[in-house]
Amino acid sequence: MTANLTCTQVSALLSFYIDDKLSTQLKQFVEAHLEVCPTCRAKYEALKSMVNSLREAHEKLATIKSGHEENSETTQYDEFKTNLSAYVDNELTDEENIKVKKYVISNQKARQDLEKLYNLKKVLYNSFDKAKNEVKDDYSKFILKRIDIQEEIYGPDSFAKVVALFIVILTVFTLTAVIIFWI
């Protein structure tokens, strides 16, 4: 192979040259040609910038991908935490229960989270209990009275009584009228 490469030869080698895959000698020949041939030089620049931008794009994609993987790990843990919360409420299926138990045994963070959940439950329970016991008002008499009053005014019983009384009076009145008429 001579030191003078033709343009066709160089363009065939360009891609390998950019990837640095040529032998030292061949590399030197290509370099020599690029220095003297502006057409091939332009081709080289164009190809080089294309490859570079492709590489950048590829790297970007890779970072996004790995970030996404991390994200999916956190969403997975969020999902686990949702199940853990349902676990302390005894609201999981048997299968889910076993899964949670297994994970809690093998994972320290999960164990701590479970403990925190139990603590929260305890704290809330105590607070609610106190709040319940602090209530002193008794509404029972008041409510019964209100119901009583309402039923006296609107209740079906009183309405029926009024109707019955009306019918009785009417009957008595008619009977009296009939008797008087006969006499």
């Binding site: 949702t82 607070s127 319940k132 209530v135 008002d137 029972s140 119901i147």
Partner: protein, 194 residues
């Protein structure tokens, strides 16, 4: 029947007796439930002055609607349906109605308000309650309303996810995630205490 008799009756039977217009059973039922309802509204409602009214209204609805309850076994979740509905009603009202101050107050003694009192801050009452209980209440009340009702129905009322789902008209999955997220938020807010 002696009063003591009613105190020993289990809840379900008390419900049945109340449905048959046994007023003493109803009285006992109200007595048993009222503290629980009061405490529930104390955590649910941001306005302290509304808690007593809400409790009375819930008890009233309970006493009046009891006849229509078909299955006495579902009493607890039925009652919580009433509580939930009242809670959402109050939310709707409170977004529409601003805080009112009567201009006639103090008129009899001859002087009018020169300053409008701010009912949101009650230093005396705030100082009286213990710090932790206060923080818990604040944290619960600062939760989004759907989270608040879900966690209260679970932790205070002890309802199952299914019962909560039917009381709040959502799916069990939603209830599950709301409770988990409510817990997460509470843990963040109370991390100095637990």
């Amino acid at each position: 029947m002696p009063k003591l008799f009613y105190k020993k009756i289990p809840l379900e039977e008390l419900v049945i007796l109340s449905q048959k217009s046994d007023y003493r059973a109803l009285e006992e039922l109200i007595k048993r439930e009222q503290r629980n309802i009061f405490a529930t509204f104390a955590y649910l409602s941001k306005k302290r002055e509304n808690v007593a009214d809400l409790t009375q209204e819930a008890l009233m609805r309970m006493a009046r609607g009891l006849v229509n309850l078909k299955n006495p076994k579902t009493f607890k979740s039925w009652l919580n349906q009433i509580i939930t509905n009242l809670f959402y009603d109050e939310l709707r009202k409170s977004t529409r109605k601003p805080q009112l101050v009567s201009i006639d107050d103090g008129q009899e003694s001859g002087h009018y308000y020169t300053q409008i009192p701010d009912y949101r801050h009650k230093p005396a009452e705030k100082a009286m309650s213990l710090e932790l209980d206060k923080t818990i209440k604040n944290e619960i009340q600062s939760l989004p309303e759907h989270f608040r009702i879900a966690i209260i129905l679970r932790e205070l009322q002890g309802l199952s996810y299914e019962e909560i789902a039917s009381a709040t008209h959502t799916s069990i999955g939603t209830v599950k995630s709301r409770i988990a997220r409510a817990r997460g938020k509470l843990q963040d807010g109370l991390k100095n205490y637990i």
